[in-house]
């Protein structure tokens, strides 16, 4: 009995350590970055797009906009693809197709992001440069690569949501004379709505937080893009690109960029949790 209690305690401690490390990370990022936001002023930090940290300009507006646009682009590409894939897998596919598709998707999730980035640079970027113009490294390239990268997240959570819809719903609909597609589109999808929205939000979180692949294909320019062929720099790219050399205020500014990113991702995750809970 003693032994039982002891093991329980140890496990509890281990479980709490994840909360602890989150707390530590939060405290660390805020301690490092907040002083800079205070001294520069929140307005000049997030509403200016003049970023020249070694010369005292710390505006990250262009990067916030770029992050949002790249994520939006990834959603436009990834969500329809992912959702249709999930519907096929959950509702229409024969067992055998499922046996091929599911492991493939899991494999897709296991590919390191640098490989996606490399493929993007070698294959996608020259394609965009030659057929659409611009330098190739662009908002479009970033969106396409991210759209593919979020597929596993969107698909697996959507499948869970769809399979959680009770079968009597489907039976009832079919019994009323609806076709299978009518059943899926008018009964199953609405019933699984909150789960699917969660999938999309978590996909967004994945897209906005991705770094390596985006650095490699998005071009990292500091401007607010005016076309999808313009190069852009996201919040994550900014941190990863410059941290290697940064010192003093520059370093603090990168942590402050991290705070903004942290808050955006927290909002996304919280809303995902709230939506799931409402169900």
């Amino acid at each position: 009995m003693h032994r039982e209690k002891f093991i329980e305690r140890v496990l509890l401690l281990l479980a709490l350590s994840s909360v602890g490390s989150l707390a530590l990370i939060t405290i660390f990022i805020f301690l490092e970055g907040f002083p800079l936001i205070l001294s520069v002023g929140l307005k000049d930090f997030i509403l200016s797009s003049h970023w020249a940290p070694t010369k005292g300009h710390f505006g990250i507006l262009a990067m916030i906009i770029s992050s949002v646009l790249v994520t939006l682009g990834a959603m436009i590409i990834g969500v329809p693809l992912g959702l249709s894939c999930a519907i096929v897998l959950a509702e229409f596919s024969p067992k055998r197709l499922k046996m091929v598709l599911k492991p493939t998707l899991e494999l897709l999730a296991g590919i390191p992001s640098v490989v996606y980035g490399f493929l993007g640079v070698i294959w996608l970027v020259p394609l965009i440069r030659n057929y659409l113009g611009g330098p190739g490294l662009s908002l479009l390239a970033g969106s396409i690569i991210l759209g593919i990268m979020i597929l596993p997240t969107v698909i697996s959570i959507s499948i869970d949501a769809l399979t959680a819809v009770p079968d009597p719903y489907r039976d009832g609909s079919l019994a009323l004379g609806a076709t299978r597609w009518q059943t899926v589109s008018r009964v199953v999808l609405p019933a699984a709505r909150s789960g699917i929205i969660t999938a999309i939000i978590l996909g967004m979180g994945r897209a906005i937080g991705e770094t390596m692949a985006v650095i490699m294909v998005a071009g990292n320019a500091l401007q607010i893009p005016t076309s999808i062929l313009d190069p852009v720099r996201t919040l994550t790219s900014n941190i990863a690109l410059e941290l290697g050399y940064a010192a003093g205020r520059h370093r603090e500014a990168l942590f402050a960029t991290g705070i903004v990113l942290f808050i955006i991702i927290m909002i996304l995750n919280l809303s995902a949790t709230l939506i799931t809970r409402r169900r």
């Binding site: 020249a52 970027v125 440069r129 611009g134 330098p135 500091l222 190069p231 720099r233 410059e242 290697g244």
Partner: protein, 307 residues
């Protein structure tokens, strides 16, 4: 109380000596759980080690077990690969001496030298203001080559033209008498030593346009220029290869000779800095670097020697 690690290893049927011995060479990867390096089994250790390294960047609080204190060289990431090469060969010639080479950037290196955290700071930029109190030792020259795609008919460019292109005043190749097409500009990230030197030597206090693509290494700048016929970028002259074309600036090509005589305009110095003139092992290492051996190494690595 039995050591849990020990118990774990024994349960896996491997003698402790076998597990703890360092396992150089690629064979170590093929032996399953027991034979893997320690960090793969204990990712926490790797994480903590990484954090320690990050926190300690710029200083040299090495936890090495050697009896004599290692000599510490910290600073510019442009100098780092060359310093590592020099240190490797010097340590080979002088067994018993240990030299730690760390990155962190020129500013961090100068700061570490000022504080005494590093014996030698490495800098790829000139000292400024207060920093001039430090002792500086120039170890090599490095040219910055402005590069374009080999298919680009341009062969020569003026400093003023480069400035106009990189400040964003000129955005089309037609301004240089070439067939009209948008110029694809590639620069380095803020804080990079190469960028710092480029801004200092070319930009004349103007800022590089935010429309420029940003890459975080000489290699990736070269890679993009090699693939894009309309691009222009700048990299360390020692790293120019035949996939890209270095432009002559005001009619002078970035050759070894021209860099040494400063006939080529875009030249920066690689410096070692220290609080006081180095003595003991530090002086010995500096003498080695400035001697024929060290200068020869720097030349074969693509830099231009100071002697």
């Amino acid at each position: 109380m039995p050591n849990p690690l020990q118990a774990l290893r024994e349960s896996q049927g491997s003698s402790p000596a076998k597990t703890w011995a360092p396992r150089p060479g690629p064979t170590a990867w093929g032996r399953g759980l027991v034979g893997r390096p320690r960090w793969r089994r204990w990712p926490g250790l790797a994480l903590i080690a990484t954090l320690l390294v990050l926190l300690g960047a710029g200083g040299c609080n090495s936890s090495s077990q050697t009896t004599s204190r290692p000599l510490c060289v910290a600073g510019s990431t442009s100098v780092q690969p060359f310093a590592e090469k020099l240190a490797e060969i010097y340590m080979h010639q002088h067994p018993g001496v240990r030299i730690d080479v760390q990155g962190g950037g020129s500013s961090a290196g100068i700061y570490a030298a000022t504080q005494g955290a590093a014996d030698l700071g490495a800098s790829s930029r000139e000292l400024l203001g207060e920093e001039k109190k430090l002792v500086e030792i120039a170890i090599a020259f490095d040219g910055i080559a402005v590069i374009v795609h080999p298919a680009n008919p341009l062969t020569t460019i003026t400093l003023a033209e480069i400035r106009k292109i990189f400040s964003g005043a000129v955005t089309n190749w037609s301004a240089l008498g070439l067939p009209p097409h948008a110029i694809h500009l590639i620069t380095r990230e803020e804080g990079s030593g190469t960028r710092e030197a480029f801004e200092h030597l070319v930009m004349n206090k103007q800022e590089i346009t935010p429309a420029a693509l940003v890459q975080d290494s000489n290699g990736s700048v070269r890679e993009i220029v090699a693939g894009d016929p309309h691009s222009i970028g700048y990299i360390s002259a020692g790293l120019v290869d035949d996939r890209v074309k270095a432009l002559s600036i005001d009619g002078v090509l970035p050759t070894r000779e021209n860099i040494k005589t400063h006939a080529y305009k875009l030249v920066r110095r690689f410096l070692f800095v220290a609080r006081a003139a180095p003595a003991g092992p530090g002086k010995d290492f500096v003498d080695f670097v400035l001697g024929p051996d060290g200068q020869g190494i720097l030349e074969t690595e693509g830099l231009v020697g100071v002697k």
